[in-house]
């Protein structure tokens, strides 16, 4: 889309090579132990911790001059977090960027998986605020690590059970805990439930980076990822029946609810803005040809 001159004075992709090396070694271990949180020495970056620095450090250690980069925040390419991360990466690498999911080799995302199918030549990097799925039942890192070591997830199951007793169903929306490869319970980052089934037996490598919490984890392709559920209370995704995107008319995408400030009217639009725009463009072209 744009090609800019690389800013001199920085190493390629900002991070120094020794930092990249460490992050790369951790990434390989994360891939070899699916769902396990590998500790790493999170570096200082020109953006504050908690604003996508984990994902950014993974992207910086992955990216090469041939990559085509896409950065999204909640499905949108044009939100401030995505724009700033993209700017920093372009400034220090000069790579080509795109909004088209089907064109990108490397996608950094905050809290969404793009709607269009991802393939084996693509890598999706998630920004993770809280990597520990057991944190809601246990505040101590030492204890949660022990619980993972022993595959002792009973307290999380009790939490889910109590949720059902209290509310009639599991109330966790985004950040729904999943079991990876039958061994580790993992936090899939705050993606909506809608995206959780896309993690299971995928074609693409998923990498997760938590900068403030200093953890890296991964889901390799063709890996079992199952949301925690009870047989009588099965996992379900968000319900968009009888709703469609006000812009492109889609009925099979994850929708954001927009409330009009003055009239109070509710509208729904696609959360994946690039896909929505593509659908509208295709519709227009089809209309012209008809």
């Amino acid at each position: 889309m744009r090609e800019k001159k690389v800013q001199s004075g920085y190493n390629f992709a900002f991070l120094d090579e020794q930092s990249k090396k460490e992050i790369r070694r951790r990434m390989l271990k994360a891939v070899a132990i699916p769902g396990y949180q590998v500790p790493f020495a999170s570096r200082e970056l020109p953006i504050a911790r908690g604003w996508g620095t984990g994902g950014l450090q993974l992207t910086m250690s992955l990216i090469g001059p041939e990559d085509i980069l896409k950065v999204i925040d909640q499905g949108s390419d044009d939100v401030v977090n995505a724009v700033n991360i993209r700017k920093l990466l372009v400034l220090t690498t000069g790579v080509r960027t795109t909004e088209d999911t089907r064109e990108a080799t490397l996608i950094q995302t905050r809290h969404r998986i793009p709607e269009e199918p991802l393939e084996d030549w693509q890598i999706l990097v998630f920004q993770v605020p809280y990597p520990e799925p057991l944190r809601r039942v246990e505040p101590s890192e030492v204890k949660t690590r022990e619980m993972h070591a022993e595959a002792d997830y009973s307290r999380l199951w009790v939490y889910l059970y109590e949720d059902i007793v209290r509310w009639g169903e599991i109330t966790i929306g985004a950040q729904y805990p999943v079991m990876v490869n039958g061994r580790y319970v993992m936090d899939p980052s705050p993606i909506p439930r809608w995206d959780v089934p896309r993690l299971n037996m995928a074609e693409t490598l998923y990498l997760f980076g938590a900068g403030r919490e200093k953890r890296i984890y991964a889901v390799p392709p063709h890996t079992r990822v199952e949301p925690l559920q009870f047989t009588d209370y099965p996992f379900r995704v968000e319900d968009f029946r009888c709703k469609q995107c006000a812009l492109c008319g889609s009925v099979d995408t994850y929708l954001d609810e927009i409330i009009d400030d003055t009239t109070g009217a509710r509208r729904y639009i696609c959360s994946d803005t690039a896909y929505c725009a593509k659908r509208r463009r295709l519709k227009e072209e089809a209309g012209e040809n008809a």
Binding site: F12, K20, L205, P221
Partner: protein, 203 residues
């Protein structure tokens, strides 16, 4: 053949990035084969082992070599990567010749249940790696891998890999998540990975 100590061909920024992406792709898809070989089509006894060492190792890491013939490589690594030699049971990276049975391999670090990522990475030098079951030469071992990253089952044929070493790796990885992650690299520049998450049979 290039001399081991001539590393002018290896760019610390761009070559290591390229090698790492191939490694990551192979680690995420066990048994998939990548070609490290560049346009010049070089091969060399240590060329691609050196490329992996330059990509992964620095002064924060330790390494061990099993068996004879690695002396020059050890001094190379100390000088060019800053990595320190260590005993096999302590090293982060363990280098071994695939065709030479190395009983010391069984002592390699497997990590612990709190930190299974502390298990070592085994870099195993072999003669050649081919996709699929390809046994016409009669010298290769056919490996069948299953598990995360593999749709169903993936086969590859490795020449220059002793069954004793495979048995050792299988034993090291019998208690997931404890274990070691293996990188197979051939003298011709083919690369394949066997992470600890892979189930493995061979014939």
């Amino acid at each position: 053949m290039k001399e081991m100590w001539d590393i002018s061909w290896f760019d610390p920024v761009y070559s290591s990035q390229r090698v790492f992406r191939q490694l990551l792709d192979c680690m995420a898809r066990p048994g998939k084969i990548a070609e490290l070989r560049g346009g010049e089509g070089e091969s060399g006894d240590f060329l691609y082992v050196v490329a992996l060492a330059l990509t992964l190792m620095d002064e924060e890491t330790t390494f061990a070599t099993l068996g004879p013939g690695w002396e020059e490589f050890v001094s190379f690594c100390k000088f060019y990567t800053g990595s320190r030699p260590a005993a096999p049971e302590q090293a982060d990276f363990v280098f071994i010749d695939g065709d030479r049975p190395g009983p010391e391999l069984i002592q390699v670090r497997r990590g612990n249940l709190l930190f299974p990522d502390q298990g070592a990475t085994v870099i195993c030098r072999v003669n050649a790696i081919y996709p699929g079951a390809f046994q016409s030469a009669g010298e290769g071992i056919v490996l069948r891998l299953r598990g995360p990253g593999v749709p169903g089952e993936r086969e590859l044929t490795v020449a220059g890999l002793a069954r004793e070493n495979l048995a050792c790796l299988e034993k090291l990885n019998s208690e997931f998540p404890l274990g070691v992650d293996t990188i197979l690299v051939s003298v011709q520049g083919q690369l394949a990975c066997i992470p600890r998450s892979s189930g493995m049979t061979w014939c």
